[in-house]
Symmetry: C2
Subunit: 251 residues, 2 copies
Amino acid sequence: MARGFGRVFSGVKRLVTLSVMWSMKHPIYSVSLRRPPARSMAGFSLPFSKPHDFSLPNPAWSPEMLQLYNHYNGMCDVETEGGEKKEGKWVRIPGYNRILKYATGGVYISKMIQSKARLFTRNIREPGAGFEYALFVNRKEQKCVGIWQLGHLLEGPPGHVHGGAIATTIDTVTGCLASLSGAVMTANLNINYRSPIQLGSTVVMESVVDKKEGRKTFVSCKVTSPDGTKLHTEATALFLSIDISQLILGR
Amino acid sequence: MARGFGRVFSGVKRLVTLSVMWSMKHPIYSVSLRRPPARSMAGFSLPFSKPHDFSLPNPAWSPEMLQLYNHYNGMCDVETEGGEKKEGKWVRIPGYNRILKYATGGVYISKMIQSKARLFTRNIREPGAGFEYALFVNRKEQKCVGIWQLGHLLEGPPGHVHGGAIATTIDTVTGCLASLSGAVMTANLNINYRSPIQLGSTVVMESVVDKKEGRKTFVSCKVTSPDGTKLHTEATALFLSIDISQLILGR
C-alpha cells in the first residue's frame, strides 16, 4: 500500500515539475506558448499529441466576438515579416477541454487521463451552444480579459443566461489571473448581478489583481457589453495558493 | 409594429396569469403538483404534453443519492392505502430541461418554445455526466433542500468540481426557495468555498430564508457531505422580486 502510494506521489511530483506549464487552478490555461511533450515519461506516444485549442475562432462566433478576438489578439506576440518574434503586451491563453490532458507519468495521473472528466466550461461539443471564450493576460499589468459568447444551452431566467453560468465565467477569468504565479483554489466569490444577459450575447470580462497577501490573491472583475457601455455584473474573488499534491492526494 | 408589440404583451400577460404554476426565477420548479394544460390558448395540442421529469431517480444515481431521495421524498405528500392523500411537510419540485416548456399563447412565448434553449443545469443528456439533482421545499419553514450528484463533466481543479458548477447549484437551490412567493432574479451571490468536492460526489444543500425586506429576499445555504459531517461550501444570496414582463420585454 505504502509502495503504491509512493508511486502515486512520484507521479504527482512529476506533475509538479510541469506546473509552470499548467496553472493548477485552471491547468488548461498555459501561460507558456511552449507545447508540452507529446511522449509520456515511460517513453510511449500519447494519443493526444495534437490537442484541439477551443479558444480559437470558429464559425459559431458572432461578428462582435471575432472583432474582440482580433482586437486583443493584435496586442499579443506577433511574428514580423522577417520571421522574428515581436513580443506583445498580452498573451492569448490556449483552452483545452481536459484539465490534465498533458500530464505525463505516474499511476494516479494516468488514471485521470483515462477518465472521462471534462472541464466544466468546455463540456458541450456543439460550437456556439455553450460557452465560447478566449482569455488574454497581461502579466505586467496583472490583468486578464475574457471575451465570451454565451450560448442557448446556458439558460436561467427565460431568454437569459443562468446566474450560475455567469458565476462560472467569473471564476474562470479571475482564476486564470490569480493562477499566473502558481496553483490556486477559489476561496470566495462575491457577485453582484446588475443587469441580465440575453442568451447568445457576447460580453467582455476585465479582471485585475487588487492585492496579494501571503497565500491570498484578491481579484476584481467587471462584466460588460462589448462596447463597455452596459455593466452586467461586478464581482470580487479571493484565491488561495495551494500545493497541487495537497489537492490530488486530499491532504 | 405597435400592434405586434401588443400581441407580444398579451402573450406575456397570459404567462403572468400562469405564474403561480411556475417560479419565474426557476420556472421549471413548479410548487404546484397540478399538471399544466397540454393545449395552447389557441386550442391546438402542444407536442410536449408529457414532459420528462429529470428530478426522478435514474440508474446513474449513486446509492447515497437514492437514500437521500427516499428520505426527503418520504416526508412529501403520500397516498394512503385507501387512496386518500395525506399532506406531507415537504414537496418535491419536478425538474424539466426548459424554462418555458409549458408556456402557452403569445407570439413571443411561442418563439421561445420553438427555440433550442435549455436550462443550464439540465443541458447534458447523458445521465450522471452532469448535474443530477432533486429539490424539496418546506413552505412552512421556508426551507429548500437540494440533493446533488456532481458528474465527471463538471471538472474544475483536477478531479474536483468546478467552482462555477458549485455556484450554479447554490443559485439553483436558493433561487428555488426565494421564488416560492413569485418571480425573482439573483442580485447577489456570496460564496465561501471551504473544502473541494470530488467529481462524482453526492452532496446535500440546505437553504433557508433569513429575512424579507420589500422586494428583497435574503437566503443562506450550506453544502455538506450526505451525512452532514463535512462542510464544503457556505453561501448567502439576495434575490429581487421582479415583474416577468420587465424581464422578457427588457423593460
